[in-house]
């Protein structure tokens, strides 16, 4: 491996409950990478925005120091400071944005605001040089569910998104229902492994009546109905006094329904665009059943790109990579930019493939 060279990009991520930082070198290699997960939300079964913001402020300096120390760099060697400016929890985002703006100003370096979901698109490319556009991207996390046709970096066609809950949110809520700890995704997957997928049947929202391109919800998702149906199923099993032995079956039935919807919509996009390259990103992309199902449906005639767990979840490396792209495209972000829960996805157009 050649010697690292600049520009060195620091990426910061504080949009939800992970305080994360990473440094990339000029060839987009990860020199330092730290993710600190806030564990204080476990007691509440979900992220408490005010606690998340306080924890980010408490940890951000230490997380960056550890990242720099792993990279073997000091802060003044950083050439570009990138940070997630949205979407996400506004109080949490503001910590990263204010800190990053202050550091960039003090060092007289460019500050670059990054869209959290654009950053997720870049994550697999940090580990696999082939994970470049064009591809169909399924971004699934605790806050978002989006289906995109990525024509090139910076050219994104939004095919569909969730109309209510995000996929990851549904996993978290069902986990809570089954008395599993937060975050729920990995717990549901583990419990489902011991269950029968077909023991209970749960609905697949937005599949049956939206089967043709042009149907109103052809590419869109909805998870709140599935969640409600799962609540009903659990209530019934509890009333019959058989919930305990049925928990793995409930987890498996829920996971199957959610993954069936995600995979079906993704494969619709593959069929309609003719693009057989699929990228999955976001926390739920770490779900093994989702990966297996997509591989199966691509029937060996396509390519599935995904990240290792540390880059599938929220992290600073993807933010640094997206910041590098945005900096090369358009230079620094003006210093009067603030964080925004509704930060606009740059280069995104709504459309049909």
């Amino acid at each position: 491996m050649s010697e690292p060279r600049g520009p060195y990009v620091l990426g910061l991520e504080t949009s939800c409950d992970e305080t994360a930082a990473a440094v990339l070198d000029g060839d987009n290699r990860i020199l330092g990478h730290v993710i600190l997960s806030q564990d204080d939300h476990e007691i509440y079964g979900g992220v408490i925005p005010e606690l998340a913001a306080r924890a980010h402020l408490q940890k951000i300096d230490s997380v960056v120091d550890e990242t720099l120390s792993r990279a073997g760099l000091t802060l003044d060697r950083i050439d570009v400071v990138g940070v997630t400016a949205g979407p996400g929890l506004i109080g949490a985002l503001l910590v990263g944005v204010c800190w990053a703006k202050a550091v960039a100003f003090a060092l007289d370096r460019p500050f670059v605001a990054v869209h959290h979901m654009e950053a997720h698109l870049f994550a697999p490319s940090l580990e696999n040089p082939d994970a470049e556009p064009p591809f169909i991207a399924l971004l699934v996390s605790g806050g978002h569910t989006m289906l995109l046709h990525v024509l090139a970096w910076g050219e994104y066609v939004l095919l569909g998104e969730t109309r209510d809950d995000a996929a990851g949110e549904a996993f978290d809520k069902v986990a809570k229902l089954l008395d599993l700890p937060y975050p729920g995704g990995p717990e549901i997957q583990r419990l489902a492994e011991a269950g029968e997928r077909t023991r209970h049947r749960l609905p697949r929202p937005m599949l049956r009546r939206n089967q043709r391109p042009g149907d109103p919800g052809y590419y869109d998702f909805s998870f709140s109905g599935l969640k409600t149906a799962t609540v009903e199923l659990v209530r019934g099993l509890k009333a019959d006094g058989v919930l305990a032995p049925q928990r793995p079956n409930v987890a498996a039935a829920f996971q199957e329904a959610a993954i069936d919807v995600l995979a079906t919509k993704t494969l619709r996009a593959v069929a309609d665009t003719g693009c057989r390259r699929v990228l999955i990103g976001g926390g739920v992309s770490a779900n093994q059943r989702l990966r297996d199902e997509l591989e199966l449906r691509l029937k060996g005639e396509g390519t599935l790109f995904f990240s290792s767990p540390r880059l599938a979840a929220d992290n600073g490396a993807m933010v640094a990579r997206a910041a590098r792209f945005r900096f090369d495209e358009g230079g620094a972000t003006p210093p009067d930019l603030s964080a925004s829960a509704g930060f606009v996805f740059p280069g995104l157009v709504r459309g049909v493939a």
């Binding site: 606690l51 306080r54 802060l75 503001l94 944005v97 204010c98 800190w99 703006k101 202050a102 603030s338």
Partner: protein, 230 residues
């Protein structure tokens, strides 16, 4: 680390509806700026810092320390100042002096006397602190705390105290009804001038021990059931 009368310092407070930024040599303010609209503080703070440095003709690399209003106030506003202060101090490798936003407000209007500062904390709740302000120093008579206005009015009141601040204006009726005076004139806001005035009176104040671990003083905990443990 000592507050040095010859060195340059940045001071700011964004805990309230009006934010404030200044650059000073020692405690002598060289240039200042006011930030409007509280929702915009995160946008306007860094450009305002750049503006006061330029106005004073000081390079960012010459800044020897950051003086920040540590709250209480709007949680988000307090964090905007705190995150900015931590980023600046980290990158400039300089200390932070964290000073109560309540005393920064108490010192933002001229004069002396016993000032009971109140910030509005929604509903019937307030953040408060009482200071004795004289020519040679500030004495903290009642340290920063949070709670129901009623508890302040029913508590032991320092003789001669006059109520000041946004919270005093909002609850003027109740305070005067309880037999206490509310200051007339402009409502004092936590200001960078107030922060530097505090350091002029107390140049021996210590900076925060570890910048990386420092947190502002929110006073109020998040959990509603154990809110208001100061």
């Amino acid at each position: 680390m000592v507050f040095d009368p010859e060195s340059f310092y940045l001071g700011f407070d964004t805990s309230g509806s009006t934010g404030s930024v200044a650059v000073a040599q020692g405690a002598d303010v060289l240039a200042r700026a006011t930030l409007g609209e509280s929702r915009e503080h995160a946008s306007t703070l860094v450009p305002a810092i750049a503006g006061v440095l330029e106005e004073a003709g000081i390079d960012r690399g010459e800044v020897s320390g950051v003086v920040v209003g540590e709250g209480p106030g709007s949680f988000t506003g307090v964090r905007v100042a705190a995150a900015t202060a931590k980023g600046l101090a980290h990158a400039l490798d300089c200390p932070i002096w964290a000073i109560s936003s309540l005393v920064a407000a108490a010192l933002s209007v001229e004069g002396s006397g016993i000032r009971y500062m109140l910030f509005d904390a929604r509903g019937d709740r307030v953040y408060g602190a009482c200071y004795g302000i004289g020519g040679i120093g500030v004495e903290t008579i009642v340290p920063p705390h949070g709670g129901a206005l009623r508890d302040v009015l029913d508590g032991a009141m320092p003789p001669g105290a006059v109520f000041f601040g946004e919270g005093a204006g909002r609850h003027r009726h109740a305070i005067e009804g309880a037999g206490f005076p509310v200051a007339a004139g402009p409502v004092p806001q936590p200001s960078a001038d107030g922060l530097f005035r505090y350091l002029a009176l107390h140049p021996d104040a210590s900076p925060v021990e570890a910048v990386a671990l420092w947190e502002p003083r929110y006073i109020r905990e998040w959990q509603p059931d154990k809110a208001w443990s100061a």
